[in-house]
Symmetry: C2
Subunit: 198 residues, 2 copies
């Protein structure tokens, strides 16, 4: 044991399991917490306990929520003809932040990745297909523009096509504010393919 306290050692160990947090950062966090008033650490632990107790997945769209169905699925002002399919719950938040989308969502819980052993049955694809009744007019596939996300989009498109529902994919291109000079070839190719008449 490197530290003279088992409690410190264990807190470092547990914190370093978080993504992108190594032993050094975990150590920094623990020593920071040790210098804070106990109420502040309690506020953090209570928030984390509540996370496991209160947060569940919406039984319709699989977004994270405290009530089932989630506020978005229950909202009568949302356009129920549109379903935006995303990989993770945080993608829902990213799209919501734009304030531009008024349809519903469907959270897959990941992307197809045979190398990681993630197949169609590991994602919420069956419940998605069950949602595609005649009320739905368009499915927007907003999986990530990487190998897994593209494969998932392709797979979903093949499944949905026979249902006579419009399928679209979010545009890939140069990010706003970026430099064409530094864009990679694939992104630039996609940007050219997806060009819009002005």
């Amino acid at each position: 044991m490197l530290y003279s306290s088992e409690a410190v050692e264990r807190a470092i160990h547990e914190l370093s399991k978080l993504p992108g947090i190594g032993r050094k950062s975990a150590q920094r966090h623990v020593f920071y917490l040790l210098k804070r008033p106990p109420e502040e650490v309690q506020a953090l632990t209570r928030a984390l306990v509540d996370l496991t107790l209160k947060v569940k997945h919406c039984s319709i769209c699989f977004n994270i929520t405290e009530q089932d169905p989630c506020p978005i699925c229950r909202d009568d002002n949302r356009d129920k003809r549109l379903i935006c399919v995303v990989e993770e719950a945080n993608d829902v938040m990213a799209v919501e932040k734009t304030g531009e989308y008024r349809g519903l969502y469907h959270v897959l819980g990941g992307a197809l990745s045979p190398l990681d052993g993630i197949g169609p049955e590991d994602l919420t694809i069956k419940p998605l297909l069950a949602r595609l009744t005649e009320d739905v007019e368009e499915v927007i596939i907003a999986t990530n523009p990487n190998t897994e996300g593209e494969a998932t989009a392709f797979y979903l498109a093949k499944l949905i096509k026979p249902l006579q529902i419009k399928i679209s994919r979010i545009a890939r291109g140069i990010p706003v504010g970026a430099d064409i000079e530094y864009a990679d070839e694939i992104t630039l190719t996609r940007a050219l393919e997806g060009r819009i008449t002005l």
Copy 2:
């Protein structure tokens, strides 16, 4: 509220208080935790609760410990003639990791910093002076080699000198493995001043 769950929002808020963790990383951690089995989140929260309940400061050296006095102060094999003065408890761990030091420690709890309103009374300087009985032969000042650490070292040296105890300061110089070409002038000056006869 950006997120559809108050619990998620609060967990993000609490986690983003940790040093070097912004909203984006906190968000990533929360979504990671939401995907983990509840036992794993419980292990983390239990570790953090234990941190506030079990860890205290040693009444002799002010290092963090679960028992008072701390294992280092109680260890009869440690050389009680040597006291290494450091700023924080993590500095004790850094020195311990070398495996080269067998004396005792004294944790100041920071460094003098008039700009941040940290004066001598905010550090454990009085208890340090009280420890400097005739058994102590040398005080090694291992505060950080920055403005605050140097000022603290200078201040301590002035206080300890009348007590007829040897005072030393850890060497400042080029770090092992570094390039002289890229060393800053002050470090290089210190390295020259502290040169050792071979």
